[in-house]
Subunit: 130 residues, 2 copies
């Protein structure tokens, strides 16, 4: 995919997450993929996202920085939300937190085949402990 | 800068770090910049890098994934190294560790003006505690 198509693809993918349109997730994500080097299936990926929304009812993905390469997407995602209980093992318990994720996606045949995600968990810990 | 120029710029910047050519750092980095939203000066940036090399004598920056945008660079950097004492507040004490950094750079007038860096500190902690 060329750069404009990658940008459009990614904006549509993020919109799919934000409107929780899980039935369309397969349009963006392969049936089998690598997530932080672990092989998972689309159903695992969907389950992880659904769990994220249970942990964070006001979750919203905001694209802060967007870059592309050869069938590759890089993004800084900003979050400003309120996890109700534990999130990523951190007891947030309803405190509003602001944090970012830096994530790269490798596409194959027009769909996400590999994801490398880093979430700024230390930022969340710092806000909980402040 | 167009994509090929951004890629070449970044490869030269990483080479500058790997050969520890601090006197050329100003060719790639503005005199004043934002680092994870904090205003710093080139001398602070250089001091941070020099400290990294003191903490990790065998430090080497390896580009794993490279993406570009509008005067924007996104990179996953892989590290396979041996911090001798504390690194990022973690007592590594000479244990070999493998980890990644996901980092974005905004360029202005052909030099780095803002950096957003996330380092996978949990991966380091997990390897130290295993």
């Amino acid at each position: 995919m060329e750069k404009p198509a990658l940008v459009k693809f990614y904006e549509q993918y993020i919109n799919c997450l934000n409107i929780r349109n899980w039935d369309d997730l397969h349009l963006f994500v392969h049936g089998r993929l690598l997530y932080n080097k672990q092989p998972i299936q689309l159903s695992d990926y969907r389950a992880m996202l659904e769990q994220n929304y249970r942990d964070i009812p006001d979750l919203r993905f905001q694209i802060a920085l967007l870059t592309t390469g050869d069938n590759l997407i890089g993004c800084r995602l900003d979050f400003d939300c309120t996890p109700v209980g534990k999130f990523l093992g951190i007891a947030v318990n309803g405190k509003p937190v602001v944090f970012s994720e830096h994530v790269f996606y490798q596409l194959q045949e027009g769909k996400i085949a590999e994801v490398w995600s880093l979430i700024d968990k230390d930022a969340i810990r710092d806000q909980i402990n402040s």
